[in-house]
Subunit: 236 residues, 2 copies
DNA sequence: CATGTACTCTTTGGATCCAATAGTTCGAAG
DNA sequence: CTTCGAACTATTGGATCCAAAGAGTACATG
């Protein structure tokens, strides 16, 4: 609800914003690969508009840090260095820890159950489709878990900041990680459960700390992935 | 240094970025007042360019949340609600606390002295020009204090996130606050000194906590200012 | 055969043009 | 006198046009 109100006040959905969102989704879904070029003419043709709004959408995306614009060379999907990922996730960990801490005193029984159910569903879902290509579904479910907690925290700016942080990297890879690697999947599930337990116990410090280590671990995994793949991304 | 590298990778300075920076400065300096309209034609004429790059710059600024774009009605400098300020400063407090905590183990003697000197200079400077209109100078000095600590923290993303947070509100008012109100000025000075003391003592927890309360207090003051003025801003 | 230079071609960047939209003002009718 | 409506105007939004810049290639020359 605060998100909606915020969006309302910031920018009632217009065409450029829609374009920016669509392009972002394309990148997040991996349809435009890391390091891939964003040609204005192509995008314009794809969405059936002229280049002008596309350019504005690109400028909008540029601020987020998801893409890099080289003068006269066009925009590319940024390939984050592993240390950048670690840095961002350290910040995100701090913020999500704050969200968890704030959520303790506000969360309801129903919301606690909702978290537990959604976590369980996510686990069973991804276990069933192990090595399947339905990663986006899983990502959505994983995001829902974290988003719900930040929403409960009642600080809209906090949610927005975390979103911006997440929006800085293509996240299809992070979901691939969990779906592919069964150990990661199990750990992820267990960590979520510990977070819910701390929230249920009303232990703010524990909830914050559990959340912090959980996010740091996720960041580490993602950073390692980039370390491995960073050299091969360019070749194909 | 990481900032420069970041900026390099993200977007080597181009004309649109310069425009965005200039417009941002205009807003931050208060030359375009809160709630003021940003007419594309005017800005274009002011900077001697066409409307096209101005539009892109506006889109870039829009992402930061400093301005709000109403479809077909143009962009205005957002008037933040007091609760938005409080929310943002709560997030900022958490992040600056993290920065202070990280800085403890990295800061050098010279940097500690530098912080102390710059704080003292800022105090004397603003005391001398009390009620004067040289607020921007003071703001710069105050920013330098915080910026130095976040730089020392060694996490570039952390610095960028804090900057984004600060960039969401016109800050000429916050500097006016300290210059005008002598009590605020004294408290600000004392808080900075306590932070430096904690850093010097190598007490990470204390440094983080001092920083947190300092930022929260600053946010409170800013929010109160907006509460008082919010009704009169529109009339002029 | 290698290397340097010039040319071409692709893509971005900025300016101008026209359409669409919302606010405002003026007028007419109740 | 008030209120509703319609036209006018100021401003944004999208498309098109042309210039500029960079990369790749081909050709010529040492």
């Amino acid at each position: 609800m605060p998100d909606q109100a915020d969006e309302e006040a910031l920018s009632p959905a217009t065409l450029v914003d829609d374009l920016a969102a669509k392009i972002r989704d394309l990148i997040m879904a991996g349809e435009i690969p890391i390091g891939g070029q964003l040609r204005q003419a192509d995008l314009a043709a794809t969405f059936g508009v002229s280049r002008t709004p596309v350019r504005e959408a690109i400028r909008q995306l540029q601020s987020g840090g998801l893409i890099a614009v080289h003068p006269n060379r066009g925009a590319v999907v940024r390939v984050p260095a592993p240390w950048e990922v670690r840095e961002a996730y350290e910040v995100r960990a701090e913020l999500e820890a704050l969200a968890a801490r704030r959520a303790v005193s506000r969360i309801t029984r129903e919301q606690l159950d909702e978290l537990e159910v959604s976590n369980r569903e996510m686990y069973e879902h991804s276990a069933a489709q192990s090595a399947g290509e339905q990663a986006p579904t899983h990502r959505r479910a994983n995001d829902a878990f974290h988003t719900l907690i930040t929403e409960i925290s009642g600080n809209a700016r906090l949610g927005r900041t975390i979103e911006d942080l997440n929006g800085a990297f293509p996240r299809n890879v992070s979901s691939q990680l969990i779906v592919t690697d069964s150990r990661h999947r199990d750990e992820n599930f267990a960590e979520h459960e510990r977070i819910v337990a701390a929230l249920r116990a009303g232990d703010a410090d524990a909830a914050a700390e559990e959340m912090r280590v959980h996010v740091i671990k996720a960041g580490d995994a993602l950073a390692r992935w980039y370390e491995q793949r960073s050299s091969t991304v360019f070749s194909g």
